[in-house]
Each structure stands twice: as C-alpha cells, then as structure tokens.
C-alpha cells in the first residue's frame, strides 16, 4: 500500500465522519453543508426595500463570480421570484432514503443570471393561492423547505426575511446552522429606525451577529438639476448604526426606474450597472466580503 492510497483512504474517512456528524446535526445542516456563507436580510418595518436589496446584493455577488442562492422566507408575501423574473414552479421528487421514510426534494428555480431561488411563491400553481399557515406550521414549513432543497454548492445563501420579529424571523435565526449574521435594512424615516431597533434587539437576544446596517431610499437625485432630495429625512440610518453599535455599510439612493425593473424581473445592478444605486450596492458587497474575511 503506498502513501497516496493512504491519503485517499484518510480523505474518504474524513468525509464519511463529516457526513455522519452533519446527519446527527439534522437535515438542515445536511442540506446546507456545501454553502459557505449564510446571511439573513432583516428589517423591523415592512416596505423598506428588503427584497430589492437582497436581489441586488445577490446579483452583485454573482457578478463578482460567487455562486449565490436566495431563500425567500416571507411566507405571506413572497416577492423574490417576481423580482428576478421567475414565474415557474419548483420541481419536486420523493426520496426513500430508508424503509418507511419518505422525503420530498425540491430543485430551486434558477434566474437568468444564475441565482438559485427557493420561495413558497414557487410551490403553488395559482398566483392567488393564499398561504394560511399558522404558528407551528410556518416554522415547520421554513425548516422543512430549507432542508428539502437540493441547494448544491454555493458561496452565499441570502435569506430574505419578512418584516418584524415573528415566527419566520425567529425560526431562521434559531434554526439555520452556522448563520454568519444579518444585514439590517432601514430607511431614513424615524418610524423605520424605531421599529428596526426592536428587530436588532431580537437578533442580539438570539445571539445572531449583526454584520452591517444599510440605509435604503436615502436620497433622490433630481433628474433635471441634479440636486439631492431627502424625502424620508436624513442621517437616521447612520445614527441608528452608531447607537446600536453596528457597522454602517452605506446609503442606497432611490432610483425612479426601480419599480419598472422589479416588474420586469431584472435586478437594477444588471440593468444600470453605472448608476449610483449599483455603486452603493457594490460598496456594500465589498464590505460584506471583507467582514466575512473572504477577500
């Protein structure tokens, strides 16, 4: 027996032990075993543009050569598939890994720029199908959905959380193994920062690292004279970051064509790569990569 075979055997043993350890940690750890970084996008208040930020962060990461997946954890108002132009349904298969045990396996949808997406919006045929899931079922659905997906190898999993600190948010914070941390999205509005404080406190309570805070919809440039306007106020995001001791990662401006882009299912960073919005997202991505020690 030569030394090379010994190394091969050793590697096979190591991988078998790793597999068994993961199995012991549960199906979610097994499903996510080949994803290097898991990041959740959090905000306290609804309507601050979390989904737009998530989708554009994913696209910017993809442009840098990373493999990216998105899990849309907003069970009652899933919007990620639409924002990426995905209207189909995920494929599913039933697996029998041991007698008496049946397991569903979902294949994520793939956007035109190669981002894998999993969302409850891609489970049902009818766009009008209401999701009436309650407490325990919601938490079970999130756990089961994450665990049942063939995620494959990826550098990033971005989890788009619903607003608030309800069942879905807590389940993600508690159940995703080795969650790297959260990115907090707020707007310059006093109301948004106030509600955001609660979400930040919830993350702290559950000992989830807060990687950075971004202020979305921070300013609007007049298309005629170029003057900056601040329809939602000024500086509240930075102030909140300082107050809560979270790194401030930047301000994302409002773009007038954003609504059109979302409806078309094209991420803004892909449509207008030279815009102020895209530059802000690029800067946030750079900070994210540095904070994960990935540069």
């Amino acid at each position: 027996m030569n030394a090379d075979i010994d190394i091969e055997q050793f590697e096979a043993m190591k991988s078998k032990i790793r597999e068994e350890t993961l199995k012991a940690k549960g199906p979610m750890a097994m499903a996510l075993k080949d994803i290097r970084h898991k990041i959740a996008i959090l905000s306290g208040k609804g309507g601050v543009g979390k989904t737009v930020v998530t989708v554009n962060l994913a696209s910017a990461l993809k442009k840098k050569g990373y493999e990216v997946c998105i899990f849309d954890a907003d069970l009652h108002g899933p919007a990620v598939p639409k924002a990426l132009g995905l209207y189909g349904r995920m494929d599913v298969a039933s697996e029998h890994d041991h007698p008496g045990h049946h397991d569903l396996r979902f294949n994520p949808l793939m956007s035109s720029n190669g981002i894998k997406v999993v969302s409850v919006a891609s489970m049902w045929a009818s766009q009008d199908q209401p999701i009436m899931w309650k407490g325990a079922h919601k938490m079970r659905a999130i756990r089961q959905l994450i665990a049942s997906v063939n995620w494959g190898k990826a550098d990033f999993l971005l989890v788009d959380l619903p607003p608030g600190t309800g069942d879905e948010v807590q389940t993600v914070m508690r159940s995703i193994p080795k969650l790297d941390g959260m990115i907090v999205v707020t707007t310059p509005q006093g109301l948004s920062t106030m509600v955001c404080t609660r979400a930040i406190s919830a993350a702290r309570e559950l000992e989830v690292p807060l990687l950075g805070l971004v202020e979305n919809m921070s300013s609007l440039k007049c298309s005629t004279c170029g003057a900056e306007m601040y329809p939602f106020g000024k500086g509240q995001g930075e102030k909140l970051a300082r107050l809560m001791e979270i790194p401030f990662w930047g301000k994302i401006p409002i773009e007038l064509e954003m609504g059109e882009c979302v409806d078309e299912g094209v991420p803004f960073v892909d449509k207008k790569p030279d815009s102020d919005f895209s530059k802000a997202i690029d800067e946030i991505v750079s900070k994210l990569i540095v904070s994960l020690g990935d540069n």
């Binding site: 199906p27 349904r89 494929d91 599913v92 298969a93 039933s94 008496g100 045990h101 049946h102 397991d103 569903l104 489970m123 049902w124 045929a125 009818s126 009008d128 199908q129 009436m132 899931w133 309650k134 407490g135 325990a136 079922h137 938490m139 079970r140 659905a141 756990r143 089961q144």
Partner: protein, 113 residues
C-alpha cells in the same frame, strides 16, 4: 371540478385519515410514535411528488389539495421536533388547519366529506 378526479379523491381520503390521527393524538388516544407511524403509512409525500405538476383544471382546487399533502408530509417529518419545541397544543392548530383545507375542498368540489 369533479370529486371523481383520482387526485382529489386520494387527497380527500388521506386528509380524512390524517385528521383522524390528529384528533386521536390530541385526545391522547394514540402516542406520538403511533401518530408518526400512521402519517408515514399514508405516503403523502409520494402522492405530492406524483401529482406535483398536475394542472388539468382549476388551480385553486389542486393547490388546496397540494397544501393538504404538504401539511401531512411536513407534520410527518417534523412531528418530534414540533412536539419538543411547542408541545401538544401546536397539533391542535394543525387539526384546525387541515380541517379548514378539507372544508375548502368540499366547497370548491361540491362534495360532502
């Protein structure tokens, strides 16, 4: 939508069986092990996988039927975890939810359960 449709008939049968199991669990007639065994014997995930792409008719009806199968399948795979985290009361909610789905099918398909 006709109740004679194979898929709907199968789902109504499975849904009623799962509802009975939930009732018996909630009234302490069976143990959690027996409950999970009972759900496993229904093979809901196999039926869901088989009919996942089935779309010959009213989407609302098939989606409701698929939601019933999803509920049974997720209950089967996560029952122990759910019991450990939230206790037996969480299964009361599942009973009500499954009953509501079956009633919705009853309404859509004009059937008497």
């Amino acid at each position: 939508m006709s109740y004679e449709n194979d898929f709907i008939r199968t789902v109504v049968g499975l849904g009623k069986e799962a509802l009975k199991l939930l009732y018996r669990l909630n009234t302490d007639e069976i143990t959690l092990d027996q409950f999970v065994e009972g759900l496993a014997s229904l093979n809901a995930s196999d039926v869901l996988a088989e009919y996942w792409a089935y779309d010959e008719g009213d989407d609302r009806v098939f989606d409701t039927a698929r939601q019933i199968l999803w509920l049974i399948s997720s209950l089967q795979s996560d029952a122990y975890n759910q019991f450990e985290l939230y206790g037996i009361t969480a299964f009361h909610e599942d009973f009500r939810e499954l009953r509501d789905y079956l009633l919705t099918l009853e309404k859509y398909c004009g059937i008497k359960l």
